[in-house]
């Protein structure tokens, strides 16, 4: 393709605009000033997440955030807050993860002063009405008891993998806790948690857009009202070692069979090898594109399901885009494969197919051509991840968490310096086609478990014929040996998950 130029060059020439980021102490402020932007975004980050939940009160961090974010201030009830925000089409949304919690506020600058007052008051002086607390508690409990256990098999599979992968680890619960944990939480617990955790030393305020500079001083003085004190960092032990394939079968009524598989990896964005592994992962399973091996082999060639992807860190899609939601950084990450629901009769085959491809990746790595193309893709594609100031601000705050340059800049810098050997070495070092945990959500999990434990052949059932070369490969895949650790594998009813 002679007309394909290097996108990066084009972007640089066209788009050099100055942005200022500076930090100040207590609270820290991350600033992304753009004078001409009338949309102002706040990302108020609390340096605490579900790992800070006390034992027996799992969900306290999330319930506190929700009671605050969907509650009132000392002056205004929740209803009055909604009435104020409505004509401005302004929004305040809490977002919780394992290690950080973020309140995201967006407003047009016509209403900035009034909006900021409400947002800051919510965080600094929340109302903590009993009714707001109860409504938030119901919402979180129903999310686990009904949505996750009953009506969202894909996320159930992901959360089941998380629970299985991080047994006895601070990451083990969902980001919103457990059923028994949430049920045990009182409004007083929430108030106490706010007092202890929402300190000026534990908060970082991110702001982006065309705000008046005087606002920064106001933020500093307002948040300085919060008490001092940092919470002690939660120690993260190494997750349990995985031996062979360990499977968690989750039984529930389900049309298709949802599958998630993976294992912890000891690197994050702060590590050089992360960027090498990023290339390997993009080649193998870039999220919601047809670039990846998994997508092309499982869906493209065989029509097994809607999509098949892989990840080297916790990944949540941002709304309807194909890009990663910012502001959920973690000190420990994991590699995962997401196989979207397959017909139950093809579940065993689909797992084998994914493992067959993973084994090929681990054994063969990438060719120089595959490496070059994937590297180029990522350098260009990553530029599209920050098309709005809100997302850019989120990525900047994540970069500060990891202690790196701006992530998108790091990708370019690190990827440009990579060689194919670096990528293939990283694959050998961090990926395994043998020691992996699998979570399977299935209607008839017991039958699938029997078939997998017995390593029974699993011929794929096609609705219509496919070409001979695919059928030939199917013969290998349907008997592809999976070394299953039966002792560590188990079958659970869905109601047993996320209970305590």
């Amino acid at each position: 393709m002679k007309n394909i130029k290097n996108l990066i060059q084009t972007l640089f020439i066209a788009g050099i605009i100055m942005s200022n980021i500076h930090c100040a102490k207590s609270p820290e402020i991350t600033e992304l000033y753009q004078s001409e932007s009338p949309l102002i975004t706040f990302r108020i980050q609390i340096n605490a997440g579900s790992i800070n939940d006390p034992q027996g009160k799992e969900g306290l961090n999330a319930l506190t955030a929700l009671t605050i974010g969907q509650g009132g201030t000392k002056e205004l009830t929740y209803q009055q807050v909604l009435d104020k925000l409505y004509p401005w089409a302004a929004s305040i949304n809490p977002q919780v993860d394992k290690e950080v919690t973020v309140f995201i506020g967006e407003v047009h600058k016509d209403h900035l002063d009034e909006f900021y007052k409400i947002l800051s008051e919510l965080v600094i002086n929340p109302r903590f009405d009993e009714a707001d607390f109860q409504r938030s508690k119901d919402l979180l409990l129903n999310h686990i008891k009904n949505t996750l256990r009953g009506t969202d098999d894909e996320n159930l599979g992901k959360q089941a993998l998380n629970a299985f992968m991080y047994e006895e680890h601070p990451y083990r619960t969902t980001e919103i806790g457990t059923v028994q944990g949430l049920e045990a939480i009182t409004l007083q617990d929430v108030k106490d948690y706010h007092k202890k955790v929402y300190t000026k030393d534990n908060i970082k305020v991110g702001i982006a857009g065309g705000y008046p500079k005087s606002l920064l001083d106001k933020i500093k003085s307002d948040f300085a009202q919060l008490p001092s004190g940092k919470i002690a960092p939660v120690n993260l032990p190494q997750p349990k070692e995985i031996k062979d394939m360990e499977i968690l079968f989750v039984e529930k009524p389900a049309r298709g069979t949802a599958i998630s598989m993976g294992f912890p990896i000891p690197i994050t964005r702060k590590d050089k090898d992360y960027y090498a592994l990023m290339v390997a992962n993009s080649y193998f399973g870039e999220h919601r594109t047809f670039n990846g091996v998994l997508m092309n082999r499982l869906r493209g060639d065989r029509g097994l399901n809607y999509g098949d992807y892989s990840y080297i860190e916790h990944f949540i899609q941002d709304g309807g885009s194909r890009f990663q939601l910012p502001n959920n950084p973690r000190r420990q990450q994991y590699f995962s494969i997401w196989i979207r629901p397959v017909q139950p009769e093809n579940a065993h085959f689909a797992i084998r197919n994914a493992m067959y491809e993973l084994k090929k990746l681990v054994e063969n790595g990438l060719t120089p051509e595959q490496f070059e193309m994937t590297r180029k893709f990522l350098i260009n594609y990553s530029k599209l991840w920050v098309q709005t100031t809100s997302r850019r601000l989120g990525y900047q705050m994540d970069s500060e968490f990891y202690g790196t340059e701006f992530f998108i800049d790091s990708i370019e810098k690190e990827l440009k310096a990579l060689k194919v050997e670096d990528v293939n070495n990283a694959i050998k070092k961090y990926l395994s086609a043998e020691n992996i945990k699998v979570a399977v959500v299935a209607n008839d999990a017991a039958t699938l478990m029997d078939a997998m434990f017995n390593n029974a052949p699993s011929p794929i059932k096609y609705a219509s014929p496919v070409s001979q070369n695919i059928l030939d490969e199917d013969k290998i895949i349907e008997n592809f040996p999976l070394k299953i650790n039966k002792e560590k594998s188990k079958l659970v009813k869905v109601d047993e998950l996320f209970e305590k």
């Binding site: 007309n3 942005s19 200022n20 009435d83 298709g256 530029k383 709005t388």
Partner: protein, 449 residues
């Protein structure tokens, strides 16, 4: 201080001013050029340095699936469009997108199908080359076609692990008799299962709808207008017009309330969906836009109904009610998830009471002004990147054939009065025009639903 060498997209000064009569809500100039073959090239210069959003909009969606047994085909066809041509087979097509680092996908709705790419402006010609090629020269084998049918079934399985999809499917099926809005964009399951046998129909579908006079190319971002039109003529100029005329069977007015009760095997709280047959989209008649305002007055977070059900009584987890814009008369749909099965009937009554109230009591001018303010600010604040702008233009173009509809909508909102609201509410929110679907968990002893 850190200096970023990245594109920045916020230069939205123009949208700071609106609501002053002569100012349009959409702050950018919309260029429209129609090629000799009828293809519209709609373009909007937008301050996204180095980036361009490229949409191809086909005015065909599940509304066009008029033949029995072939529901879901517009969506299926969207998948087939990624299966390649002689010049660029699917691998080559993907390789090109990969090389340029493009964000590329497609979606199908009731009324239209959109293929969208966001990438470097420098690659505009590359994008136009591969996109025009597949719209004019798509070629796939019967085997590829059958394999893709598996992915559609996978998508159905993925979506239908949620009871919301099931309840929505049943609501539409009950609310319409003949019109193609009877089925969702996914199509009926029996038709999806039969898709592998419909290769010949797929060719017919392409031949009918993927024609220049039924499509528009929408380009938003950083580009040169002259060059764009020159390229459009070069790459799309030979695309031949079609001749098929669509006749969608219209339903007569609904005469009687329809009730559907469902059970769900997995865990769920009770869900109620209520549909009222509503108007079609129009920038001339006030009906559809008044329904948008009613949606806000009755179901937004500041409405008395929301306050009572969600905040005060806490009987429901959420409630929402709205009507999507549609080319033919659509469905105003209310969804709520109720915490206790005992309250199902009470909640329904509360909803009906709120709708009676909007029919009989004029809303204050002050309240109406807050709704209009909300609609304007939420629209203006959404225009924060080239992709969103192209998506909004696509939506309004497909409804009327004219992207300027985007401005007309917000001009017409301004003219809606409290009297209009009562009149339109009386017209559509009647008992006989209603379909009610209730879904409860199986085995909990409340299966009267």
């Amino acid at each position: 201080m850190i200096r970023f060498n990245l594109v920045l997209l916020f230069f939205l000064l123009p949208f700071l001013v609106f609501g002053k009569g002569e100012n349009k809500i959409f702050p950018y100039k919309i260029n429209q050029v129609t090629l000799d073959n009828g293809l519209k090239i709609i373009s909007v210069p937008f301050p996204s340095p180095g980036i361009v959003a490229y949409y191809t909009v086909v005015r065909a969606g599940s509304r066009n699936e008029i033949e029995p047994g072939l529901s879901g085909f517009a969506h299926f066809f969207e998948h087939m469009m990624f299966r390649g041509t002689e010049k660029y087979n699917k691998d080559k097509y993907n390789d090109i997108l990969k090389m340029i680092g493009a964000d590329n996908n497609a979606f199908t709705t009731d009324d239209y199908t959109a293929y969208h790419t966001v990438a470097s402006s420098a690659e505009l010609e590359t994008i136009m080359d591969i996109e025009s090629d597949r719209f004019m020269n798509l070629k796939y084998s019967e085997e590829d076609f059958k394999t893709e049918a598996g992915a559609i079934l996978g998508e159905y399985n993925k979506n239908f692990s949620s009871p919301f999809m099931t309840i929505y499917e049943k609501l539409r099926e009950a609310a319409y008799d003949k019109h193609t809005y009877k089925h969702t964009t996914m199509g009926f399951l029996k038709d999806i299962l039969d898709m592998p046998n419909q290769y010949e129909y797929s060719l017919k579908f392409f031949d009918r709808w993927y024609r220049p006079e039924n499509c528009a190319v929408i380009v938003v971002g950083d580009f040169n207008q002259e060059k764009l039109i020159e390229l459009a003529k070069k790459y799309y100029g030979s695309w031949k017009r079609g001749s098929y005329t669509l006749n969608v069977p219209l339903d007569p007015p609904q005469k009687k309330e329809k009730i559907v009760n469902l059970t769900w095997k997995a865990k769920t709280l009770p869900i109620v969906a209520i549909g009222y047959r509503g108007p079609a989209f129009s920038t001339e008649q006030k009906d559809m836009l008044t329904m948008d305002i009613i949606s806000q007055l009755v179901f937004s977070q500041t409405s008395p109904l929301y306050t009572k059900l969600v905040i005060e009584k806490q009987w429901v987890e959420f409630i929402e009610g709205s009507q999507s814009d549609s080319r033919d008369p659509g469905l105003f749909t209310i969804f709520t998830r109720i915490k206790d099965p005992q309250n199902i009937e009470t909640v329904k009554k509360e909803i009906y009471t709120a709708l009676e109230d909007i029919k009989n009591n004029p809303v204050s001018e002050e309240k109406l002004a807050t709704v209009k303010s909300y609609l304007k600010y939420s629209f203006a604040m959404s225009l924060n990147n080239a992709d969103v702008v192209a998506s909004k233009l696509s939506h309004y173009y497909q409804l009327t054939g004219d992207p300027e509809s985007i401005n007309k909508v917000y001009e017409l909102y301004e003219k809606i009065t409290p009297e209009d609201i009562m009149e339109i509410a009386k017209k559509y929110f009647t008992n006989e025009n209603r379909t009610v679907v209730t879904l409860v968990q199986e085995g909990l002893g409340n299966e009267k639903y």
